[in-house]
Amino acid sequence: MMTILSALLLCTLTVATYQVSALLQRRYKKFWLNPMLITIIAVIAILSITHVDYHAYKQSTQWLSALLEPAVVILGYPLFQQLSAIRKQWKRIVILLSWAAAFVISISYLITLYLIEIPAIAVSLSLKSITTPIAIAITEQLAGNSAITAFAIILAGFFGAIWGVKWLNFINVTSPTAQGLAIGTASHALGTATISQLSYQHAAYGSLAIIISATITAVIAPYMIPMLDILM
């Protein structure tokens, strides 16, 4: 009885905090009022004060996490809407994102090896831009650290979700297609979910980038990382 009640309470708390911060963001239009970020900070604070551990919270909110899968599926709709436009750009998108995947893997791996000097962490950080299940699978294959991969993925998602559009506008990348592609590549589904509210173009190109970069990374990372090791 107690568990059902606390589960209900924790879910309500999460959804209500999210709704209130979404309302605040719509009202004040401040990008840092990101509902996801505010809810996460609020929930962590409340759990710490009330001494509820993460495991209990995770169990209570498992249906919310279960909704992640259908949430990713619905991104097929904006993708369908942009399909004819995407078809013309198909080749250049795949080529660009292949270079981007090689770029992110090598700079993340090399910088981490240089600064932290632990190969397992370097493997984890080099996979942070792609969708969690694939990144974790490759992490295990390459003897990385799954906990760090999961942590890095969330953070990479947040940076893109909160400052991605702001930064791209600042460096004069204003086209919705370029913004969508960039944020999908760097910040996977978390970034894409946030920018999907801006336009169908953002959503479609973000979703496309998630699929293509995950596929390319899964193919090239197992070869690239041993090669980078030789270079060092």
């Binding site: 996801m36 970020l37 995770k58 996490s65 899968e69 599926v73 097929g76 660009l96 950080l125 890095a152």
Partner: protein, 113 residues
Amino acid sequence: MFNALYSISFICLSLALGYAFYAVLGGLPPSLYGMIIFTLLLHFRLCQAEKVKASIDWGIRHMGVCFVPAGVGIMNQYPLIKQHGLALVSIIFITTFLVLTFVGVLYQRLEDR
């Protein structure tokens, strides 16, 4: 109401097929196969776009909340953050913005051509 049920059925169908593809092929996670299948169902008009539009718009507006439990998981990483925190966060921050810039700038150039 009917449209909402119609949308939910097609989303579940796509996800179920996604799981089937995943079981056979492996590779991408089930939800990404599901996304591709949903796109194709809409494209070949097996699922009518007009009927799902309102539900999809609602879903896109609210999907962020599904990421909250995973995000709260960061609180379990205190020891990790304590040990390498600053270096980890800075590397993730810098490389994320480098990739954003790389893809954004190059794609916008390609588009303008």
